[in-house]
């Protein structure tokens, strides 16, 4: 993984840059000490580490605006950061860049039940929003597994999902309004407490833009009433193909479960050994199907799902009889990553999405790859929406294994694209999948995305080295290659 070559001219001006930042953010808000900077050297993708040139922790929108304006004036790169839980290296610092930490933006600004929305600063955690409205029976729907720690600002940057997003949507489907600062210091506001921001859907582009377009300083999200009931059913199958068929049949029957997760044999065994959730160990695929909503609906659908599962060859079925049991079903799935961490010194979590019908083929090809490279793989799968999380087991202390795991992971993601899927369903491209972007997109596709980036950040100062494998200058991207009078009238049916 190559990051842009640090600009020695910028590094040489470090003292001047630090002074400029200190003039904006006084006191401890500007960090230069190497030991203190260590806290920012990586995010959730810990294989990549880099100390930033300097870190700045503003506490007001005005400071954010001035910091960005100053960086633009000095030609200094900026890497925005929330809680640093990105699994794709979205917040990986640059040796010649300013790390802009949004951790001081922790206030909940407005809870508005009459308009069913909450306005917060970007450093509020995902779970913090739900907790703030829980006493009224509300919650914020997207629930990434890092929700205790991850911030809503980071959720906007990554368009985070969670196990419930087939039914309730990703971040982008739950955001009503944003305030953000552009690299030139301009503060813009999009949307609000009403539906559909006017004009171009810039909120749609900013959500999931991985910190490349601007720095979000305020977020308004919609909140939902908690479902009255939730029950889960645990289903075991003799083959992953049957498990996949069952998922398709549930959806074809018009049922969109609140959650529908699948685990393969290695993942089931690891999870069971870790948390003793009561999972059957003699099945090849385990499904957790959670139905939520009014009690009458949940009861009705549980029966239907059980019938479908029997029809599709389920060899194991258990319906949760209590809230305790439902949570126990989930405990194994939620602990799948650390559980795999117990059976292997290290693991590498992938995140592709595939058309569900391709699951048997993908699992089979993945097994072949696993046999070839000698690394084991365990699979957990957001089955409802086809989002696959293969966990590659390796030992970083064995020479070459990390590289082999990365290569295996890349091959899995290429396979996802080959069968009609995409590189990332919820973790983002970051640095991790940057160089695979050309497997999913043509040059023209990527250039158009980069032109869009130029509309926000013409000097390419915000989070460079992420998402796009090749950096182009905006002037070069903007050049038109069609000349006056070069073409005659085209041969197209006309009237």
């Amino acid at each position: 993984m190559k990051m842009p070559v640090p600009d020695s001219g910028i590094i040489a001006r470090r003292r001047e840059i630090v002074e400029a930042l200190r003039a904006i953010v006084p006191g401890e808000g500007v960090i230069v000490d190497e030991n203190e900077l260590r806290a920012y050297e990586c995010d959730g993708l810990t294989a990549f580490r880099q100390l930033p040139m300097v870190a700045v922790l503003p506490s007001t929108v005005e400071q954010v605006s001035q910091v960005l304006k100053a960086c633009k004036a000095m030609g200094v790169k900026v890497v925005p950061r929330g809680a640093g839980t990105s699994l794709s290296g979205g917040a990986l610092p640059l040796a010649d860049g300013v790390l802009l930490g949004m951790g001081k933006f922790k206030r909940i600004l407005d809870i508005d039940y009459a308009n069913r929305c909450v306005t917060v600063q970007p450093g509020v955690t995902n779970l913090g929003i739900s907790n703030a409205v829980a006493h009224e029976g509300f919650y914020y729907a997207p629930d990434p597994s890092s929700q205790i720690a991850c911030t809503i600002g980071g959720n906007i940057a990554e368009n985070s999902g969670g196990v419930h997003c087939l039914k309730y949507g990703l971040t982008t489907n739950n955001v009503l309004g944003l305030e953000m600062v552009l690299i030139d210091g301009t503060i813009i506001r999009l949307g609000g407490k009403h539906l559909d921001a006017g004009g171009y859907d810039l909120m749609g582009i900013i959500t999931g833009s991985e910190g490349l377009l601007g720095v979000v300083t305020e977020v308004t999200v919609r909140i939902l009433k908690k479902p009255a009931t939730a029950r889960a059913v645990l289903l075991g199958f003799p083959s992953s193909e049957q498990g996949g068929d069952c998922v398709a049949a549930i959806i074809a029957a018009g049922i969109i479960p609140g959650g529908m997760e699948m685990m393969d044999r290695p993942a089931i065994h690891a999870a069971e050994a870790f948390v003793h959730a009561g999972y059957p160990l003699d099945v090849e695929a385990l499904l957790i199907v959670e139905l939520d909503g009014p009690a009458a609906e949940v009861d009705h659908l549980i029966d239907r799902v059980e019938a479908i599962a029997r029809d599709k060859g389920a060899c194991y079925a258990r319906v949760s009889k209590s809230e305790e049991e439902r949570l126990a079903f989930w405990a194994g799935r939620k602990a799948a990553f650390p559980a795999v961490g117990r059976i292997s010194p290290d693991y590498y979590c992938m995140d592709g999405t595939i058309p569900r019908k391709a699951l048997p083929l993908v699992l089979q090809r993945m097994q072949e790859m696993s046999d070839r490279c000698g690394l084991r793989v365990a699979n957990v799968f957001h089955a409802g929406d086809g989002n696959l999380h293969p966990l590659i087991l390796y030992d970083a202390n064995k020479p070459g294994e990390l590289e082999a795991a990365e290569e295996f992971g890349n091959d899995i993601l290429r396979l996802c694209v080959e069968v009609g899927g995409v590189l990332t369903g919820e973790h983002g491209v970051g640095v991790e999948k940057r160089d695979l972007m050309t497997d999913q997109f043509d040059e023209a596709d990527l250039q158009q995305q980069q032109r869009l980036k130029c509309a926000f950040d013409p000097d390419g100062l915000l989070n460079p080295g992420k998402v796009f494998p090749t950096l182009h200058r905006c002037a070069e991207l903007g050049r038109l290659h069609v000349h006056q009078g070069e073409l005659r009238f085209p041969e197209i049916p006309r009237f």
Binding site: D196, G478, V482, E491
Partner: protein, 393 residues
């Protein structure tokens, strides 16, 4: 003022047409079958690019919840195809037109409050930019965060960024059953407060509208037209037993006056989706507007407008969408009333009026400047639908 209509049959021909337009400096009006031509500002272009020749469903996989079709595919045929498999576009768009036109105009119906809008269901696109370059964005699976979410930007961009050639949308199971609770005789403020109560309940309300007396009287549904006053509507949808249970509980909670069953419910919400007859008289002397506001502020916004203008209204989206007919030259008054946030769109008025009015809410300067740069990133020479959304863009 269209001189020539180009009707390409392949993406390659679309690229050729745009390349020609670009080299000749000739703007193009981008059209499907032209059903939403009256929405937005009139485009000043000597040539039209008619995309209705790019028609046909490329892939429809009900179990994957996705459908991919060429942009000019008629929505009516997609609707039938989906209905055959018990599915639909959950955002409840109006009927007619093409898939491309629907996405480009970013429309949604009453279910907007629970299911989102066109933008929430547009997963992938392919098209030709104003640089005459064919490109694609997004993907063909329901969950994807790879690269910028270009499909969302296309939704509601009215053909000003890209001539869309292919679109992938998320499709969902259509509800098995539908029922509507009716409450009679509430004034606007009381009605929106009641809708708020319904929307705060855990009963998954999928439609929340209020028809004041005049609008209710025009309904083709007997129980509504015959109510003799205002009617407030709360819709519940889903599996049969679930709808039945929720109707019982919510009826009790809201003290609803009546319940409509499936067929009448479907008919009534089609009316609400299409403007409840409010736009029918609109034309020369009355113009039709849609206001998107914070739901709780809907009635007060209307009250402010009524101080100066004679308007007729009804509310959807729990009060957050106000349909409103107003006399000509009301734009400034209507927009001045949006102090709590939101925006107003002139959705029906004669062409000359739309040419001279800000049809869409004017944007603050920094946002307009950014929008202009976004437009230029796709269409630097202003070839595609110039002026359709904003003058000079």
């Amino acid at each position: 003022m269209t001189i020539t209509t180009l009707k390409p049959e392949t993406t390659a021909q679309v690229t050729d047409a745009v390349r020609w337009a670009l080299s000749a400096g000739e703007p193009l009006e981008i059209l499907g079958i032209g059903s939403r031509r009256g929405l937005g500002r009139p485009v000043r272009a000597g040539h039209a690019l008619d995309l209705s020749g790019l028609s046909g469903v490329i892939a429809y996989e009900p179990e994957e919840l996705v459908l991919t079709a060429l942009a000019g595919t008629p929505m009516d045929s997609i609707r039938v195809l989906l209905a055959d498999r018990g599915q639909h576009l959950a955002f409840e768009p109006p009927e007619g037109g093409t898939l491309g036109g629907l996405v480009a105009s970013g429309l949604a119906g009453p279910r907007r409050i629970s299911a989102g809008s066109a933008r929430d269901h547009t997963l992938g696109i392919a098209g030709v930019s104003g640089r005459a370059e064919a490109y694609k964005g997004g993907g063909k699976v329901v969950k994807n965060v790879t690269g910028y979410d270009v499909p969302k930007l296309m939704a509601g961009s009215f053909g000003t960024l890209t001539a869309l050639t292919e679109i992938t949308v998320k499709v969902l199971p259509a509800p098995e059953d539908t029922a509507t609770l009716l409450l009679f005789g509430l004034d606007d403020a009381a009605a929106v407060a009641m809708l708020d109560r319904a929307l705060r309940s855990p009963y998954e309300v999928s439609g929340a509208a209020h028809l004041p007396a005049g609008t209710a009287a025009r309904s083709g549904v007997a129980d509504v037209a015959g109510a003799g006053g205002a009617v407030t509507l709360v819709r519940l949808e889903g599996f049969g037993p679930s709808v039945a249970a929720r109707v019982t509980m919510l009826r009790e909670e809201l003290r609803a006056d009546a319940v409509l069953g499936r067929d009448e419910s479907l008919a009534l919400w089609r009316e609400v989706r299409d403007g409840a007859g409010l736009g029918e008289g609109a034309g020369g002397d009355t113009h039709l507007w849609k206001l998107s506001v914070p739901p709780s502020t809907g009635p007060a916004t209307v009250e402010t407008i009524r101080r100066t203008l004679d308007v007729e209204v009804f509310y959807d989206w729990g009060g957050g969408l106000v349909w409103l007919t107003a006399p000509p030259d009301s734009a400034a008054t209507i927009r001045a009333a949006l102090s709590a946030g939101g925006h107003a769109t002139l959705v029906q008025a004669p062409e000359a009026v739309r040419a001279a009015t800000d049809v869409f809410q004017p944007l603050p300067d920094p946002l307009m400047a950014l929008s202009r740069r976004v437009k230029e990133s796709f269409d630097p020479k202003g070839i595609l639908n110039p002026g359709r959304m904003y003058a000079g863009l």
